[in-house]
Symmetry: C3
Subunit: 315 residues, 3 copies
Amino acid sequence: MNYISIQDIDSLSKWVKSAIKIKKNPLKNKKLGKNKTLVMLFFNSSLRTRLSTQKAAINLGMNVMVMNFGSEGWTLEFEDGAVMNSGASEHIKEAAEVVSQYADIIAIRAFAGLVDKEKDYAETVISGFLKHATVPIVNMESAVRHPLQSLADAITMEEYKTKHKPKVVLSWAPHPRALPQAVANSFVEMMQMQKDMDFVITHPEGYELSPEITKDCKIEYDQSKAFENADFVYVKNWSNFNDYGKVTNSDPNWTVTAEKMALTNKGKFMHCLPVRRNVIVSDEVIDSENSIVIEQANNRTYSAQIVLQKILKKL
Amino acid sequence: MNYISIQDIDSLSKWVKSAIKIKKNPLKNKKLGKNKTLVMLFFNSSLRTRLSTQKAAINLGMNVMVMNFGSEGWTLEFEDGAVMNSGASEHIKEAAEVVSQYADIIAIRAFAGLVDKEKDYAETVISGFLKHATVPIVNMESAVRHPLQSLADAITMEEYKTKHKPKVVLSWAPHPRALPQAVANSFVEMMQMQKDMDFVITHPEGYELSPEITKDCKIEYDQSKAFENADFVYVKNWSNFNDYGKVTNSDPNWTVTAEKMALTNKGKFMHCLPVRRNVIVSDEVIDSENSIVIEQANNRTYSAQIVLQKILKKL
Amino acid sequence: MNYISIQDIDSLSKWVKSAIKIKKNPLKNKKLGKNKTLVMLFFNSSLRTRLSTQKAAINLGMNVMVMNFGSEGWTLEFEDGAVMNSGASEHIKEAAEVVSQYADIIAIRAFAGLVDKEKDYAETVISGFLKHATVPIVNMESAVRHPLQSLADAITMEEYKTKHKPKVVLSWAPHPRALPQAVANSFVEMMQMQKDMDFVITHPEGYELSPEITKDCKIEYDQSKAFENADFVYVKNWSNFNDYGKVTNSDPNWTVTAEKMALTNKGKFMHCLPVRRNVIVSDEVIDSENSIVIEQANNRTYSAQIVLQKILKKL
């Protein structure tokens, strides 16, 4: 069993319930991971993912080996048949198979390069590991997806929802640098698995996410209209998917402010963090009592823990 | 309970005695830290602090997660109300609160930038964590202080003192690069807590430490005079506090040599390490039997261990 | 007891047999390393060594502290009597003695610089630690040797040999960058300790390894001739030893291909990894059933584990 996409979850509602149980007693399954080793491979920066996934593994009694692949290891080649006479020192074939021998589970973080859309959306790195590794793989944010985050988001919404069918908005917001679409993509995929939620995506025209991901999700280009009566407002920047990896809009009118939140139904403010204050969201909103970003980050531990626990049980 | 400054110690003599007891049986409290997690965040290089603090936590049975914040995480913003549209990706508010959720204790190393005196002496980084974290904070060297080092120094002096009221000299020595004042500051603060020691600081004119730290400590500009009959000579370079962060003097006459040590009362040579041989101190002195720098470094483990132990007992 | 060279092994055949036993039950000696700490110091990149050595220590119940000395610590000075007023911040004398106080065993990786032959072949870094450390030292690849690799190679050959006296070839192959001679050197030294193996080294003229290492080993400049009837073909690039550290030959005719392997006695293909595909070896060969590179990497765990076990038993 791997955890590459939120769609690897058989029943989202059951996993969310289990995660909330784990949260109440995180050390209950401390024996489950005994003498099992999690290898965490980072190709990119990480704070929450690094610490929460490690913490989840520790809670399960696992050994953890952390490695910054870029700086501590070798540059990898992903193409079959490549003549490796320039940059890359090692092929994913060997790397994945070798690391599998030292690990019971491998977790990988490798962001989108935001240069070559096809390569990114082919999930070159994580697919390479998936293909050649001989142990389960956990996605700690790949080019296209961030399913540990989205599961934590689902847990958080379950904890904070106050009515049967809440309205959830995913809103784009401006950012000075080009960011991947991974968090937004996985949030959309997670929302598609929710049974009783009204979901709407709002972003400037031209900032559509991949239609293969959003499918028939409702898109509303008027942010204020989208916010009306929302119970949860999930805010995230992403760079342009069509004009791939470019920042073609940085309109400050999309910053989430108290005025906009006033349109909601005392909507909870969500963000995966790290967040640029007063660019993505005003201080007033993120510091308000309706901001649940810290709890989202807290739930990253239990999101990782339910995933590791499910995998460990099948080893 | 936090450990930000040596002044956070209620009774220096009692802590020193406890640390010396721990040193005799370091694994005695191995159960105290069970299922507790220390997160160590490094914004700067570290050898002794990195390994000794980790070792202390291991001796107490704690889990440890180590992170190089600069290279592995995100650039932090510390100013309230900042519009984060340039360098920094994450605000200390979120970072500190989030990490607190994965940690029982957070230890932080963040050196002085040596550019902006006010910012450094406001202890921007560690104060930011202190303000926003929800778990105890341990200072692994901040802009202004290095209290784990000074506690180790106090332990070492206790072990090596041969008379009731020893004379202790803190001597500046030359160094090619601009170094923070943190070690010297904390040593001064520690000496002010000692009851039975004669203390004198010696440095070139113009190299006065912050008067708010040295208070009424005796200053002697003639190094040789200061060394007379000294029982302990603690040597350390610091950059200029007045002409802030500058190297305005690199006079090799301040290097500690055997001739100068001959003026002392078979004085013990101390330094926090790393030390530049034949710049700060001659080989002859640091290699002599009166050099106790290796034992100082050894005591870093027990200094960290008594601090962690005190905090764990109050959790 | 230290493990600096394969020659530190008293009986290669006994160690190999013990390692194969460990492989069958890697957790059997989990109590041996209890409350013992391995400090792993990296001056260079590492994948297999980093993870397999750590895994071996975990299998033995040890605590592990990993440190990237270059980026996380201080630049070291190795010369006695140096006036340290430029680059280096700390002398090996202090560094080695200090780290010894936090460790029961220190493992070190420090590659050849490939600029100064004398300095490299004096094993400056690992010899410095060896001289000044007060605990056992394990070589995780030094300037001249990689004995954990060669022990893993010996284990792998023992597992795969099908006749009493197999023929083993060490073959040079081209590579775009200048690589150290360490792996080849240690392989040669290991082969000299084998009793019942026919050993031949093949490389272009001018690519002779140090004669102090190869001694009276057979050298065959015709690669095809060397491959005839070989049972094991160990392939590795190294930079020129005579024209020190230079790449004076990158002849693609030395790449190991299926045609060449056809000359062997269904010879097993070996390489320490990372390997540049279609430069060192064709895909066809490394992907064939006679390629045992993945198993070699697997045996790195048991090679490290027998070494750590032997040292722990003597502590």
